[in-house]
């Protein structure tokens, strides 16, 4: 049975690849899985928040969200909810810097009814004024209240992203700022839809138990979109000079910290996979065995976890694995320190920075390399277990131009790469001097003073600690910080994303 299934898998895989090749010139990315009783849709447009006009930041995200939460020419939003309800189906949107994806899944029993609605939602939107007001209100609430006050960790990451990409089309929060959102009109949305929901930007992802004729029909249906043209704004990220810190001041009982810098390495390149091994060792997302977690949480109990990334990973607080279709041409290397007690904030920052320096200066050991490689060979199986997730990654492969597929390439690279390759990639892409850091905390002036004066930051514990930990603490506490006063800015939380 196992063997038989394996061969079925190979045959299907071959079919999949063939299908994609046959459709090379088309908008289709197909992942047929005949036995799957469901069909997954990911309708992707290569447009995102980088295409927001100046002063209208948030427009791409608002447009996508409105499409999935409003009336069509044929049905009110209430009717759409009513029709989707018994199918246990939905239509959702996700917008990142360069991508917008509208996605959903249905059982094959309901395929015709579901697709008919999905098509209407994308091709015949009503742009209803009342629906627009409702969706815009939701966005304003998120920016004015939720992210500022209720999600310190996400706030830290998004402020860091704006800090690193400042002056570029990547700069702003995808959901926009308060003032830009307030200025967006329904006409802006209509115009954005007209300009960017075009065949030039379109990729139609279908996965699961559909047949060829259905795929052809979908492609035919989407021909009604205008041809359009691809607009890719230039993103020139400024290099960072020294250590620059932004402190977001709020009445916080704990401090969320994120820091990082741009890196010029993307999925698909050999260096990416080499760096992915190092990143996994340093701080695999929510993994207790990774190094930063061991140093900051396991040995010292300072917080809930500490992780490292070389690719965008939105809403990591709520996910074990990243979503697909947040592919970007510009990525940052980032370390995320989950909230620590305010009196340990500088110590935790120094601890993470010192570990970064150690791996940059000393590289990854052969033993750690082998263990991490072994880990990843199986662990990457968990990233895309379903048709919907696989389809998302197949679309990303198109974006990055990975013809053999990211996961296949990843496994191949895990076999091929050596510890020397990994250490060469670390030396090439990682450093610890030119960094931007964000603290979400209280008593900002006190932190600024400690940063610029390089004040030692020894912490005390409520429990006894091994001598080795205490000795290391003394080193961490005086780890040198070179922060010029003009490189520290303080912003009140209610001014962030204003």
């Amino acid at each position: 049975m196992k063997r038989l299934s394996f061969f079925i898998g190979i045959l299907l895989m071959a079919f999949m690849i063939q299908s994609c090749q046959q459709q090379k010139q088309s908008h289709l990315v197909l992942l047929p899985v005949k036995e799957d009783p469901t069909i997954s849709f990911r309708i992707l447009f290569t447009v995102g928040s980088q295409n927001d006009p100046a002063g209208k930041e948030g427009l791409a995200a608002l447009t996508a969200s409105l499409l999935t939460k409003e009336a069509t020419q044929k049905h009110s939003y209430e009717q759409i909810l009513e029709l989707l309800y018994p199918m246990a189906a939905s239509v959702s949107s996700q917008v990142d810097k360069e991508m917008t994806v509208i996605y959903g899944r249905t059982h094959k029993d309901n395929l015709n009814d579901y697709y008919s609605l999905l098509k209407e939602i994308l091709l015949e939107p009503k742009f209803d004024e009342a629906d627009f007001k409702r969706v815009k209100d939701d966005f304003l609430n998120y920016v004015q209240r939720t992210i500022r006050y209720a999600q310190d960790e996400e706030l830290g990451k998004e402020v860091l992203s704006e800090f690193i990409f400042e002056g570029t089309p990547y700069e702003h929060l995808e959901e926009g700022h308060v003032s830009s959102l307030e200025s967006i009109t329904l006409n802006d949305v209509k115009q954005f839809y007209k300009e960017h929901y075009t065949r030039a930007n379109l990729l139609i992802g279908l996965g699961g138990g559909f047949d060829d004729s259905f795929a052809r029909q979908v492609e035919q249906d989407f021909q009604v979109l205008p041809v359009g043209k691809k607009e890719t704004p230039a993103v020139k990220v400024k290099p960072i000079d020294g250590m620059q810190v932004k402190i977001v001041e709020k009445d916080a009982n704990a401090t969320a910290i994120s820091f990082g810098y741009p890196i010029d390495v993307l999925r698909g390149s050999r260096d990416f996979y080499a760096l992915a091994i190092a990143t996994s060792w340093l701080g695999e997302h929510r993994n207790a065995a990774s190094h930063l977690y061991q140093v900051i949480r396991e040995a010292r109990g300072l917080n809930y976890g500490d992780y490292a990334y070389i690719e965008h990973f939105p809403r990591g607080y709520a996910r074990q694995f990243p979503p697909p279709n947040v592919a970007r041409h510009h990525q940052i290397f980032q370390i995320w320190i989950r909230p620590v007690p305010n009196d340990a904030r500088l110590f935790a920052f120094r601890a993470a920075l010192r570990e970064l320096q150690k791996i940059v200066d000393n590289g990854l050991s052969k033993k750690d390399f082998e263990l991490t490689r072994q880990f990843l060979k199986n662990y990457i199986l968990h990233y895309a277990p379903t048709t919907m997730m696989k389809l998302g990654y197949a679309l990303d492969d198109k974006f990055y131009g990975i013809t053999e597929g990211h996961w296949k390439l990843y496994r191949k690279m895990l076999d091929e790469l050596t510890v020397d390759d990994v250490n060469a990639a670390i030396r090439k892409y990682w450093q610890y001097q030119n960094i931007k850091a964000v603290f979400i905390t209280n008593e900002a002036e006190e932190l600024k003073s400690a940063l610029v004066n390089n004040t030692p930051s020894l912490i005390t514990y409520r429990s006894s600690k091994p001598a080795a930990i205490l000795a290391e603490d003394r080193e961490i506490a005086k780890y040198p910080l070179h922060v010029a006063p003009e490189h520290v800015s303080i912003v009140k939380v209610d001014k962030v994303f204003q």
């Binding site: 049975m1 009783p37 009342a130 065995a289 109990g301 809930y304 880990f375 006894s464 091994p466």
Partner: protein, 445 residues
């Protein structure tokens, strides 16, 4: 490649069982086996050959509900953290190394009614997983210093959650809605108790001895494995585990005779939150009123309800409204949550909720609407049984509450028989004003 193969086999089974009509006797689509070891350890196996991966879930039927002693709230969750601190055979460094080598997706979580430890691994690692899991469940050993350090991490988890107005609302709700039952505290516990956790080393051992016993644990094994071989391993590795579960001394909650209300201040900005909680029933999949209440929540306050369309879409008075009429071991709460856009509209929104309740208590729900919700729940459950992990995680709560997965079949079978009259009866029985607690959260201006 391998993962593609894995999914195919699951889907093949699902493809042959999907339906939109009534639930048959055996709604749960996968063949399974269950048995109990002499020491009381229950084992449920759902083998799906050729799938490549195995989800191995250890469901401890103890959650924050079992924290009955004053000053010990949050201990089930804290203990979940301690379970990663190693044994003599596998100290935490060795444990981490072995889990890392397997590339396991491994973690744990704690709820009000149970604590769940899971590992999802390639099938060839199953014996290693059974060895590791059985060892820590029987032989957990940690020093007081490690215990104190972990208390810091738990406090860190509390702090990270604390920024949300919903965390504050939940604390207040549980504290007000319950007077005697242990549902009075949230799963993470009272802050004072969390602060005091480093001093509870001795108590932690008694907690382990009381609750981490085979007669309080269910193993759920789903995916690609050999049943007979796995049975042998389970007998070999868990056979010597001594039974001895000591039930918690939980005081039943007295009936609530009067509405309780509280306005809570949130030290940040938020739209006003209204959280209304009616006293619910203990989960019983064969009890019509329990299953009717589950449907009632969705019918009256779900995304397709009249009040949702009115307040969210047409009038735009609230950002959302949603129900949570869940399943619990003891009677807990049937919840309605909403966020009001303008504080001045709070009385109006409350009156609309009351009108909805009254309508469901008086009128019969449209039969088609009732059938639609049943259909939705069946599709939703089945469509999400597409990986070993998804299957195990979907079953964990029901297994924890009942010790079995038969409850799934019973639940959907009972659901099939629910009539509009049952829905009305459930509204009359549960949605009584005197049995509810209302928390309103208001933020800074």
């Amino acid at each position: 490649m391998r993962i593609i193969v894995m999914q195919l086999c699951f889907l093949f089974v699902l493809a042959s069982v999907m339906w939109a009509g009534s639930a048959p006797e055996q709604f749960f689509p996968y063949p399974h086996q269950k048995y109990t070891l002499p020491n009381g350890l229950k084992v449920i196996m759902i083998p799906i050959q050729g799938s490549g991966l195995v989800a191995y879930y250890s469901v401890v039927r103890t959650g924050s509900r079992d924290e009955w002693e004053p000053g010990k709230s949050g201990f089930a969750h804290f203990f979940e953290h301690m379970m990663f601190r190693g044994t003599k055979k596998y100290p935490s460094e060795k444990y981490n190394e072995l889990v890392t080598k397997m590339g396991a997706d491994a973690n744990a979580y704690t709820t009000d009614d149970y604590t769940c430890y899971y590992m999802v691994v390639p099938g060839e690692n199953l014996e290693q997983v059974i060895d590791l899991e059985s060892d820590r469940f029987q032989n957990l050993a940690y020093e007081e210093s490690a215990f104190r350090t972990e208390a810091g991490a738990v406090y860190g988890e509390y702090r990270k959650n604390r920024t949300s107005p919903w965390s504050i609302a939940e604390e207040e709700m549980m504290n007000l809605a319950f007077t005697r039952h242990t549902y009075k505290h949230t799963t993470i516990g009272f802050e004072a108790d969390i602060r005091n956790m480093p001093n509870m080393y001795d108590y932690s051992k008694s907690f382990f001895n009381r609750y981490y016993r085979p007669d309080n644990v269910v193993l759920l094994v789903v995916g690609d494995f050999n049943v007979n071989q796995t049975k042998k391993w389970i007998a070999q590795y868990y056979g010597n585990w001594k039974k001895g579960y000591t039930p918690p001394k939980i005081k039943p909650e007295p009936p609530q005779g009067k509405e309780r209300q509280k306005v809570v201040h949130y030290p940040g900005r938020t739209l006003p939150i209204i959280w209304i909680a009616y006293k619910g029933a203990a989960f019983n999949p064969t009890e019509k009123m329990v299953v009717s209440a589950y449907l009632l929540g969705n019918l009256a306050f779900g995304e397709n309800s009249e009040i949702y369309k009115k307040l969210v879409i047409r009038e735009q008075k609230v950002q959302f409204i949603s129900p949570e009429f869940g399943f619990n071991r003891d009677p807990k709460l049937y919840n309605i949550y909403t966020m009001v856009k303008d504080e001045n509209d709070i009385p109006y929104v409350m009156s609309e909720i009351d009108k909805t309740v009254k309508a469901f208590q008086t009128n019969l729900v449209d039969n088609q609407q009732l059938e639609n919700i049943k259909k939705r729940l069946r599709y939703s459950f089945l469509m999400n049984l597409d990986t070993p992990d998804h299957i195990a995680s979907r079953l964990a709560r029901i297994v924890a509450l009942t010790g079995d997965i038969e409850a799934v079949n019973q639940l959907y079978s009972t659901m099939d028989k629910i009539t509009p009259e049952d829905i009305r009866a459930a509204a009359q029985q549960f949605l009584q004003k005197k049995k509810r607690t209302v928390i309103t959260v208001k933020g800074e201006k």
